[in-house]
């Protein structure tokens, strides 16, 4: 028997005994064949005696079914492989002390811990047992039976706070010392708080030899130690007790108070790191809604940080009395204050020099208004400020020369005229340090750096209320920060400047902390207008608390109310959770950034790792195998029964189906690799068979082409016209053209043709995109398209465009065509073969347009040409109809107006056009021949 293999329901294995029976049963009951009626049965039933015997179940089908049955039986039995830790509970004769860590760190793999603990308790059934959960304040020292211990064990849950093991370990130690035969087992999470170090070492030393330790790896637990405001969001601090040895990543999730996910952020631990940071960068409105951040998939209370109002970002307006042209802006009060507040708030500063900055700042409804050395506020502005404060706003003022000089009523205390200079040339007082922070002050708990010196300050008129109004005082008791409630809001006065000229307070961390406390207060006021937070004596009752697995639920009965300025990490009395009313909750967290924890050094003690204890459950695997076998059986039955008879009868079909299945399998395996290895596909080779014979013919001899419009008469006119023109060309020029060809630009290759004649039909649809692309390419490659709207007869100068013209315009709108002009008299077209002054066709009235010539117009040069042939020629004279001749050379269409030489001129137009297209600007150069000859001296 393999060690560690166990069955959930071992009795199911008895069914395996039935397998041989099943074997015989299956063997004698072959799959039922299909039943068919056959009337001729009496005639043929003697045909084959052997075949009448019931067919044997094929051996492979038998094996298949037996395997399926075995798989199902095994699956029911629930085999699982569990490397049994060799915890030896037999050695001891006295009680067994079972120490179980149940702090927040134990929530990780809690079920496994309990499973291991119960396994140990079951093993030690005949020994007295002392079960000591480490969180227990007063652990029982008297042994109990394993059964009672087991029931107690099963009722344990991990605690949501840091558990110190001192008590538990001391008790365990005491028992071990008292009872000589006692042994101990410690199911540990291997993580300790710093305070526990000595206790644990002592215990390990004393218990050496009698202690077995089962520990989960310390690195398995990731804690979310704190959430800090950073410049552009929240920064989460993640810690581990020990580095994991490999880089690992995780995901932080932020939720609002209703549990909706607001955002997430990834964090990654380096291989040797025990700390990581993650940044939740979200818009401030969303940031303010975050009430919980946790590590996804980490189910411990330590992986959760609850956020209360203290984490909400404040909107702060900063107004400075400084002038725009501050000489040293980096040592100005404004700079110090903004640096202190920037990371924790949404700081807004009205641009310097803007008129009435206070009113402007108030418009943005800040939670906190900071005024740096603004002496007197008066009139409308003072009223607005008062209203703001009374409605719950918070005003922080810094003293300064301006304030010391003048006074207004927006101050918490009455100031004495003139300031106080300490340690100056005219003073025998030394610069003062800060005194202890008064008890009721919101600054309670802040650390006072001893090197803070106050050299100057403004002084308050002493009165009875002054000490209560003081939030911070100097050593001699003079107030440094005073505050007073005004309406729902509050006014805070720093009796020093925001810069370093009066004190070095702005350089200290205390300055930042003070301002942060003020920020917290500001939100409280803005939110609820409650004074609860100001009152240190008021206690906040627990509302929701976290359990050990990090789930929020109604407060446990043990939870005690906390003080309003509770900052300590959670404890048994104050479990983590939300305290106080929903609108002004205080969050208590399992961990604070100050919480430190480390891996326990078990020293020489033998430690059984717990991660090994994760059992492998074979059930799903077996179920899948059984299901596959059953499916295979069904297919086999179908094949045997003849339902897939063609597979059997036709070998070819069988082969092809098998081949298909294999190729699919291969393809699925090979495909990902081949995708990687794939080189760019080779350039498509030209397949000679794919070339149409028409194209070959077109490439061998030049020919004119026309676009097939779909109108038979127009197409016929185009064809006969180009034929007629071709005849004229071969008669009069050296150009011998092949038969004209009709084209569909969307389908046919245009590259073989120099000139394409395109008659425009009224209302013809716009060519397809493919055709447009082909035409565009054709014109760009140097081809010429001769558009013929054939509407010169109906055109009216300056009148509405005809339907053909509109169709042409619609088509050309999609094309990239050059600027056009009517053929100028010096255009090379007028001289390519014949000297022409107009270009006529069936009609004589229409203009012919070509690409605008860009060259300089020179009266002396008889012909101009661009560097290229115009890609587009537009006429309306219906050229093809004028050229159209029948087989006998007789013209097919009458001409309008029918001048005597009109048809001849039409042909000449055609000849010139074709020569222009074929020879380009050659004729334009020809005009220089006389000059060239002259230069050659002939």
């Amino acid at each position: 028997m393999i060690a560690g293999l166990s069955f959930l329901a071992p009795f199911a294995l008895i069914a395996l005994v039935a397998l041989p029976a099943l074997y015989f049963l299956l063997k004698i009951t072959p799959p039922p064949p299909r039943r068919l009626p056959l009337p001729t049965l009496p005639l043929v039933k003697d045909l084959l005696g052997k075949e009448r015997e019931p067919a044997r179940t094929p051996w492979w089908l038998l094996a298949l079914r037996l395997a399926a049955a075995t798989a199902i039986i095994l699956a029911v039995a629930g085999p699982r492989w569990q490397p049994q830790s060799a915890v030896n509970t037999e050695t001891g004769t006295g009680p067994l002390v079972l120490i179980l860590d149940d702090g927040w760190t134990a929530a990780n793999a809690w079920q496994t811990r309990i499973a291991r603990a119960s396994a140990i308790l079951e093993q030690a059934a005949n020994r007295p047992v002392v079960l000591i959960p480490t969180s227990e304040e007063f652990p029982a020292m008297t042994p109990e039976t394993a059964t009672t211990a087991l029931s107690r064990l099963l009722s344990l849950t991990p605690k949501p706070y840091v558990v110190l093991r001192a008590t538990a370990l001391d008790v365990a130690n005491a028992i071990l010392q008292r009872e000589a035969g006692a042994t101990a087992v410690w199911i540990s999470d291997a993580i300790r708080d710093d305070e526990d170090k000595d206790t644990i070492e002592r215990f390990l030393k004393h218990a050496a030899g009698r202690l077995e330790i089962i520990a989960s790896p310390a690195a398995a637990v990731t804690a979310l130690s704190g959430i800090n405001q950073s410049g552009d969001g929240l920064e989460a601090l993640l810690r581990r007790a020990a580095p994991r040895g490999e880089a690992s990543q995780g995901l932080l999730r932020a939720y609002d108070d209703k549990g909706r996910i607001l955002g997430d952020a990834t964090f990654s631990f380096a291989a040797t790191a025990t700390e990581a940071k993650a940044k939740l960068a979200l818009p401030i409105e969303i940031l303010n809604d975050i009430s919980r951040v946790d590590i996804a998939d980490e189910k411990t209370a330590g992986a959760v940080q609850l956020l209360d109002a203290g984490h909400r970002r404040r909107r702060v307006a900063l107004i400075s009395g400084e002038t725009t042209d501050t000489a040293q802006p980096l040592v100005s009060a404004r700079y110090f204050v903004s640096r202190a507040l920037q990371p924790y708030s949404d700081l807004r500063e009205p641009p310097r020099g803007s008129p009435d900055p206070i009113a402007r700042a108030l418009e943005e409804r800040p939670d906190l208004l900071v005024m740096v050395d603004i002496g007197t506020v008066s009139g409308e502005t003072a009223a607005a400020l008062t209203r703001y404060v009374e409605n719950g706003g918070m005003l922080i003022r810094f003293a300064g020369p301006g304030l010391a000089a003048a006074s207004d009523n927006l101050l918490p205390v009455t100031l004495r005229r003139g300031g106080r200079i300490l340690g100056g040339a005219l003073s025998w007082d030394k610069p003062q340090r800060l005194g202890a922070i008064p008890e009721a002050s919101p600054f309670t708990g802040l650390t006072i750096q001893p090197d803070i010196r106050i050299e100057r300050q403004v002084l308050a008129e002493p009165d009875a209320e002054l000490s209560r109004a003081s939030w911070a005082v100097l050593e001699d008791g003079t107030p440094l920060v005073t505050a007073a409630a005004r309406g729902k809001g509050q006014i805070v006065l720093f009796h020093v400047t925001g810069d370093t000229s009066w004190s070095n307070l702005p350089l200290s961390g205390l300055f930042v902390d003070m301002l942060r406390r003020c920020l917290t207060l500001a939100k409280m006021q803005a939110n609820a207008g409650t004074q609860a937070m100001n009152d240190a004596k008021e206690k906040l009752p627990p509302r929701l608390t976290l359990d050990g697995f990090g789930a929020l639920s109604a407060a446990t009965a043990k939870a005690q109310p906390v003080e309003t300025r509770h900052t300590a990490p959670a404890s048994a009395e104050h479990p983590p959770g939300f305290y106080g009313p929903p609108e002004a909750s205080l969050a208590v967290n399992t961990l604070t950034p100050q919480s430190r924890f480390a891996a326990i050094d078990f020293g020489a003690a033998r430690v059984i790792t717990m991660s090994d204890a994760r059992a492998i459950d074979f059930r799903p695997m077996l179920m899948v195998i059984a299901a596959l076998l059953v499916i295979a059986d069904a297919i086999a039955m179908a094949v045997l029964g003849g339902a897939l008879g063609f597979l059997r009868t036709s070998k070819r079909a069988l082969v092809s189906v098998t081949a298909l299945a294999f190729s699919l399998l291969l393809a699925s395996m090979v495909a990902p690799e081949s995708a990687h290895a794939q080189t760019p596909p080779p350039a498509p080779e030209l397949d000679i068979r794919s070339i149409r014979p028409e194209d070959i013919r077109s490439s061998l001899r030049p020919r004119l082409a026309y676009v097939i419009t779909g109108d038979v008469r127009v197409d016929e006119a185009s064809r006969t016209g180009l034929t007629g023109l071709g005849q004229i060309l071969s008669q009069r020029t050296s150009l011998h053209l092949d038969e004209p060809i009709g084209l569909d630009p969307a389908r046919d290759e245009l590259v073989f043709y120099s000139m394409i004649y395109w008659p425009i039909l009224a209302g013809q649809p716009r060519p397809s995109d493919k055709a447009i692309r082909a035409i565009d390419g054709f014109m760009k490659q140097g081809g010429t398209i001769l558009f013929d709207t054939r509407d010169a007869f109906v055109q009216r100068p300056g009148g509405q465009p005809t339907a053909e013209t509109r169709a042409l315009r619609a088509m050309l709108a999609a094309l990239d065509i050059p600027a056009l002009e009517p053929i100028p008299q010096d255009h090379v077209l007028t001289k390519t073969f014949y000297l022409l002054d107009r270009f006529v066709g069936r009609y004589a009235a229409g203009d012919t347009w070509v690409e605008t010539l860009t060259g300089p117009r020179d009266a002396k040069t008889p012909a101009r040409a661009g560097d290229r042939v115009s890609p587009i020629i537009i006429t309306s004279n219906d050229l093809a109809s004028a050229w159209a001749v029948d087989r006998f050379g007789s013209p097919l269409f009458p001409l309008v107006p029918g001048e005597p030489r009109q048809r001849e001129m039409a042909f000449r137009t055609g000849v010139n056009l074709v020569m222009y297209v074929f020879t380009g600007n050659y004729k334009a150069d020809q005009v220089h021949i006389p000059a060239l000859l002259e230069r050659l001296g002939q």
Binding site: P31, P32, P33, R34, R35, L36, P37, L38, P39, T40, L41, P42, L43, V44, K45, L47, L48, E51, R52, E53, P54, A55, L640, G641, G642, A643, G645, F646, R648, T649, S650
Partner: protein, 314 residues
Amino acid sequence: MASNNMAIEEARAIPAFTKGPPLALTSEAARLADVLPHLVVEARNVAAQLQLGIHGRRRPGPGEEFWEFRPFVAGESTSRIDWRRSARDDRLYVREREWESASVHWLWIDFSASMHFASRLAERPKRDRAVLIGLALADLLVHAGERVGMPGETPPLASRNIIMRLAETMARRKPGTFDPMTADALPDTLPIRRQDHLVMIGDFIMPTEEFAEKLARIAHRGVRGTVVLIRDPAEEEFPFSGELEFEGLESNETWRVGEAQEIAVKYRERISAINEELRRIALKNGFGFVKHLTHRPAAETLLTLAALIGGNAA
């Protein structure tokens, strides 16, 4: 060789034919009544189709309504004188019933269970085809001046409406009298006289010896006849494959075949041998023999039959 798509064809017996319970049989009778109207129409069509084809071979002779009067010969019984005719002139006439001497065709159709089989290769069960051929043949014969009856059920009839008459007879059978389970594959005794012509339509699934014996018994009584063997194409071709269990229609026995394809050749050989044997027996006993496969048109077989019977009758 059966094509692949034939291989996946099934065979069926109509209706969902369960052996044993008589319920199926009464409903079977009802079903025959259901299909009869269609068969009647079809038979008329087929017969009409063939009327022209056999018209030329019709023998000249007295029609069915013909009454022959011959002069009274002295010495005959006076009771035979037809007085009405004789009253017209001075002579005496005797009415002779000429048709009594015309030949009589008896139509016997096998309604046994095996006839209720149809494979998917054929549209109709064999029974329907047998009825169709029988009715159409009766019509043709009647038009040729013969009389047709069903032994034991109708006298020989010469009605122009013979199809209707016979169909009604078949439809009106009392449930139970024609039990497909017990119906004979070949009649033992028939109320037929010598020189009558017996057309037997059926599948004759029985040992050939039994067939030979029964046919010989009929033939020895001086009855001529024709055997029309109806077969479903599936019965001939055996287009089955895979492991199958065949069940007989008239008995409870089954026949399991491991691989139907493997015995197909043997099966075909056996069936064709049996067919050949049936033909031999029929011919030996002076019977005509025609085989009809139900996926072939009925007219084909009918034409052969008409030629065969017509020739015999002549």
